[in-house]
């Protein structure tokens, strides 16, 4: 069975998210008297709007433009071939100047878009770019973008319901309003822990699929290595890194690891080369 580990993890995380959602739905039905059909339609609309706005915003925020086929024929050929081998339609290809080597995928199977930065194409060799493209296509093929939108949708709905539950059970004084906002945020964080956990695993799966599609993990490993080594030269001093690793807060250790969408880059490189 394909992606057995991912399916097992998705079953566990999906059940947890469903449990959160079910509790929120029951609260909405009980407190507001909404029928189940209205709760479901409202939820689908909420997530759908998030998905549409998110895709539009992502492309607009980087100023992405269509990747011209006459200037980048090799990339178009690579994506066409990779899409065929992954069993998906060729996504729309776009390019943007992001200031750093980067690439991301938005959308879903059949309506996907892959954006690459000019800096990525400049810094990486052809095979490495192919590895990156294969990884992004794997995200589309595995519906990772949609899963993340769904996860955030559930987290947001549960957070909103938690806020209202606090408000409606209180005396409507200023402490209740404050508590409602705080509880909403903390609830969202709690749900997102599970969403991020599965997101990190999905990165490994996308790496593995990319390696399978291009016949080995070395090109993608090299791409990650190039980008991260350039990064290390520019970023923190060794002392900063040590301090960050020891901190519960901070942006690199403890809480940040819990809420990381990507696994450590070193581990990904190791796995790709294993």
């Amino acid at each position: 069975m394909r992606h057995l580990g991912l399916n097992a993890r998705m079953a566990i995380v999906g059940s947890i998210l469903f449990a959160f959602y079910a509790v929120a739905a029951v609260v909405v039905m009980g407190v507001f008297g909404w029928p189940l059909s209205l709760v479901l339609v409202g939820s689908v609309l909420f997530v759908g709007v998030q998905y549409k706005i998110g895709k539009w915003m992502a492309l607009r925020s980087v100023g992405a433009e269509d990747l011209p086929e006459d200037r980048y024929p090799e990339i178009h050929q690579q994506v066409e071939s990779l899409s065929r081998s992954m069993g998906i339609e060729k996504p729309r290809l776009m390019i943007a100047s992001m200031g750093v080597p980067n690439a991301f995928a938005v959308g879903r199977k059949g309506a996907g878009t892959v954006v690459v930065s000019e800096e990525l194409l400049t810094r990486l060799e052809s095979r490495e770019v192919e590895g990156v493209l294969a990884h992004e296509l794997a995200h589309i093929a595995n519906r990772d973008v949609v899963m993340m939108v769904l996860g955030q949708g559930v987290a947001s709905i549960v957070a909103i319901v938690a806020q209202w539950a606090v408000l409606l059970t209180g005396d409507n004084d200023i402490a209740d309003f404050f508590l409602a906002i705080v509880v909403g945020q903390i609830t969202q964080m709690l749900v997102m822990v599970f969403v991020f956990a599965i997101s990190r695993y999905r990165e490994y799966v996308a790496d593995s699929d990319a390696a399978g599609a291009i016949g080995g993990g070395e090109p993608l490993a090299r791409a990650l290595e190039k980008i991260s080594s350039a990064n290390e030269r520019r970023e923190d001093t060794e002392i900063d890194s040590q301090v960050n690793a020891l901190c519960i807060f901070g942006e690199k250790g403890g809480i940040a690891k819990l809420f990381a969408t990507h696994p450590p880059i070193e581990t990904r490189i190791e796995r790709l080369r294993a």
Partner: protein, 86 residues
Amino acid sequence: MVDVRTLAAAVLGVALGIVCLAAPGTIVRIQTAGRVPQDRYGRYGEDGPSGGDGGDSGIPTRWIRLVQAVGVVLLVGGAYFGWTLL
């Protein structure tokens, strides 16, 4: 008798305020996950907010400052509700 909801507002407000001040990038990530692609900011293969100041992470500095400002409000609010319990 201590009002439990006011106590919760004080404790949770201060706790969330500290997180907002100390790890603003993490808060931005939680709020933006699934709304914008997680590879959108920062470098390829990394989480967007790699730095707290937003400078090298690609996350707009104003987002980081906004979260930190919210953190200050939460800290002050939490402290106020704690003070009312004394």
